[in-house]
């Protein structure tokens, strides 16, 4: 008998008493009562708590803020679908790389690049979570992982308060990365230390009117 058949047979025998599966009571909160300002305030509070950098800005300020955040960088990678306008204020001294289908940056190349700029899909204010889903303005998972500094654009229209509100906006079968602050560990005496293997610096630009 194959392992599969045997395991499924064991499960059938184990459940011979035919327990009835319960209805799942979904009495938890599924919709927000916060207005936009309160929502922004909540998300900022959570991100600051995680030691991420946060600026709340207008769309027109994106190029300047991106340039400010990357002031210390020597090179930057962006996914092919990122609005090129957003990098328009970058000084020429910062080398630019694009990761595009058919023209991928290798892991070694990414390791030599100091920063990455991406957009994001959905964010959850209550837990301070930003979700990337691999759309062309966010790119492959590797590009937002290997460089040590991640500048992430979060349009206010993509922010919800609660996790259940984020679910209908997600395509679950896309490769998803949920980010809540820069990489961290609490493995030594449970003291949270920011910055292990993922990007050690996370700067979030929260953009109104977008």
């Amino acid at each position: 008998m194959s392992a599969k058949d045997e395991i499924l047979g064991r499960i059938r025998t184990a459940l011979a008493d035919a327990p009835q599966a319960p209805e799942v009571p979904r009495g938890y909160r599924t919709s927000s009562e916060l207005d936009e300002e309160a929502l922004i305030e909540l998300l900022v509070d959570r991100l600051v708590d995680y030691k991420a950098g946060v600026d709340v800005i207008e769309e027109s300020q994106i190029p300047q803020l991106v340039a400010d955040k990357l002031a210390g960088a020597s090179s930057v990678v962006t996914p092919q679908g990122l609005n090129p306008q957003w990098l328009s204020a970058l000084p020429g001294t910062i080398a630019r790389h694009v990761d595009a289908p058919g023209d991928r940056r290798s892991v070694a190349e990414l390791d030599a690049i100091s920063a990455v700029v991406t957009s994001s899909a959905v964010s959850i204010a209550e837990s301070g979570t930003i979700i990337l889903d691999g759309e062309p303005d966010q790119g492959r998972r590797a590009i937002s992982l290997v460089p040590d500094h991640h500048v992430c654009i979060v349009p206010v229209s993509t922010v919800v308060q609660l996790l259940p509100e984020a679910m209908p906006r997600l395509t679950i079968t896309r490769p998803l990365t949920w980010i809540s602050g820069p990489s961290a560990t609490s493995d030594i005496e449970l003291e949270r230390v920011e910055g292990v293997h993922g990007p050690r610096t996370l700067d979030v630009l929260l953009v109104r009117g977008m």
Binding site: R26, L163, M167, S180, L190, H197
Partner: protein, 490 residues
């Protein structure tokens, strides 16, 4: 490891069994005062954090109710859910393997690695692979496995065993960690201090090259969604993202109980899990993948669905809810027994209150070394209150104690000491006359206690009681005698 198992279905193999009975292991571990200090500090810190973030959610109890029902409904239809998962994961380019036990899972993983031609793998924390002893097995097969989680790295470099499921190196303090790094990391800066940030940086440097060159990664999974074939890993450091994104081949080893019926279930689990485990509103990183995504991440994706005693747990209608466990570790952080003995005393991969039920349920209570685990509890109930999926651990502990007594009786075919004790107890307590007779023996007890008025050792199975405590000598006069004398003098 070979075990003789009685009854059906087959019990789990691997690191599920105590190497010695809990009382003996606990006795030794209690002598390690540094470890106890570290543990106390850690469990108390995490407890407070957890209470704070749980208190923030007005609907915490509703989330627990939903979480418990989701897991029950997954377990009660497990066959269907697994088949559905297999269909969806396969449709998106993943390959599903089934493993009856630890040995079979280890062999499958070895063969998959061999096919790639690689002799090295990176690993992201997985309890299932620890349960089946995968690293040790691969080593015998000429394959080196590198743990990448900071705590696992500390444990691996220190030639140690994990003592907590979430923070496996919780028993080591910063200075001990630094000493391990200095001794075991070839490329480490000899001036390394014991500041946690510096230690984390040393780990980053140590593992960076491994991540960037690894061809094969092995992971666990926190959940699998039946309706889409999606897998998820919850982590903090980014080592998970590295393992799940950069290598060409990804092999996930997952217990069959990790399957969730619907996509929407993660909106419940991802609120319950981080708050219960690290006491954070959300863990820094969660990755989800569904089979193979063209041009993004590993292109050769496998999952090994592991039974290893889980179907056996399912067959126990009282104990099966132990499979609902999402490995958050809240129960061990609140447990007074765990706080003092630490995780090592439980022997198995699964320590603390959940381990005390899960290990014997997986192997079968007749596995001699595990039959003391259900007694490793004062039944205070703190674990039940903390559990995000409402597993009634105390109730299952009591149930397993009953099973243990029955199994002893079956084995010995003669009344056990426990039976005699209980029979004796009912005789003594049943009639005032009998009680009086026994009380006559009180002076004997005083004799046994000696001058310092303490009984150090009781005979027979009652000896367990005196292993960790002394009993005060019985009084010179029984309550009943005193009461009659009182009445007469009035």
């Amino acid at each position: 490891m070979t075990q003789v198992f009685l009854g059906m279905p087959a019990g789990g193999l691997g690191n599920l069994v105590e190497t010695e009975p809990f009382p003996a292991a606990a006795h030794r571990e209690l002598g390690n005062t540094q470890m106890r200090k570290n543990l106390r500090h850690a469990t108390h810190t995490i407890r407070d954090k957890r209470l704070r973030v749980v208190g923030e959610l007005p609907d915490w109890e509703q989330l627990r109710d939903a979480g418990s029902a989701i897991k029950n409904s997954a377990m009660f239809n497990l066959e269907e859910r697994l088949l559905e998962f297999e269909k969806n994961f396969t449709a998106r380019g993943g390959v599903v393997h089934w493993a009856r036990d630890a040995d079979e899972a280890n062999t499958i993983v070895r063969d998959l690695i061999r096919e790639t031609g690689s002799t090295e793998v990176v690993k992201v924390k997985s309890m299932a692979t620890q349960e089946i002893g995968l690293n040790e097995y691969l080593e015998t097969q000429g394959i080196e496995a590198f743990e990448t989680d900071l705590a696992e790295l500390i444990v691996q470099l220190g030639h140690d065993k994990p003592s907590h499921i979430l923070v496996p190196a919780i028993h080591k303090n910063r200075t001990e960690v630094r000493d391990i790094f200095l001794k075991e990391m070839p490329d480490v800066d000899p001036a390394l201090t014991d500041e946690p940030a510096k230690l984390a940086e040393a780990a980053r440097k140590h593992l960076r090259a491994k991540f960037l060159s690894a061809k094969v990664a092995i992971s666990g999974a926190n959940f699998a969604l039946a309706d889409t074939g999606t897998l998820g890993v919850v982590e903090s450091e980014g080592n998970g993202r590295m393992c799940l994104t950069l290598p060409e081949t990804l092999i996930t080893v997952m217990g069959i109980e990790k399957v969730l019926p619907h996509t929407d279930d993660i909106e419940v689990m991802m609120q319950l899990l981080p708050r219960s485990s690290t006491g954070e509103r959300m863990n820094p990183y969660t990755s989800m993948w569904t089979g193979v995504t063209e041009d993004d991440g590993p292109q050769n994706v496998h999952i090994v669905l592991l039974d290893n005693g889980r179907s056996r747990v399912l067959s126990d209608s009282f104990g099966r809810s132990a499979l609902n466990c999402i490995r958050c570790s809240a129960c061990m952080n609140v447990c007074p027994v765990y706080e003092r003995t630490g995780g090592h005393a439980y022997g198995s991969t699964y320590p603390g209150p959940i381990g005390a039920i899960l290990s014997p349920l997986m192997t079968g209570i007749e596995v001699e070394k595990n039959n003391s685990l259900p007694y490793a509890s004062s039944l205070c109930g703190a674990c039940f209150d903390a559990c995000p999926v409402k597993i009634n651990i105390p109730e299952i502990l009591v149930h397993l104690r009953g099973e243990d007594v029955d199994s002893q009786r079956d084995k010995h075919k003669i009344p056990t000491q426990m039976d005699l004790l209980m029979k004796g107890g009912s005789w003594v307590l049943g009639k005032g006359k009998n009680m009086k007779l026994v009380e006559k023996a009180l002076p004997l007890g005083r004799l046994a206690a000696g001058k310092n008025k303490k009984i150090k050792k009781l005979p027979g199975i009652a000896a367990g009681w005196t292993q960790s405590r002394d009993i005060p000598a019985p009084p010179a006069q029984s309550f009943r005698d005193w009461w009659s004398a009182e009445k007469e003098s009035k």
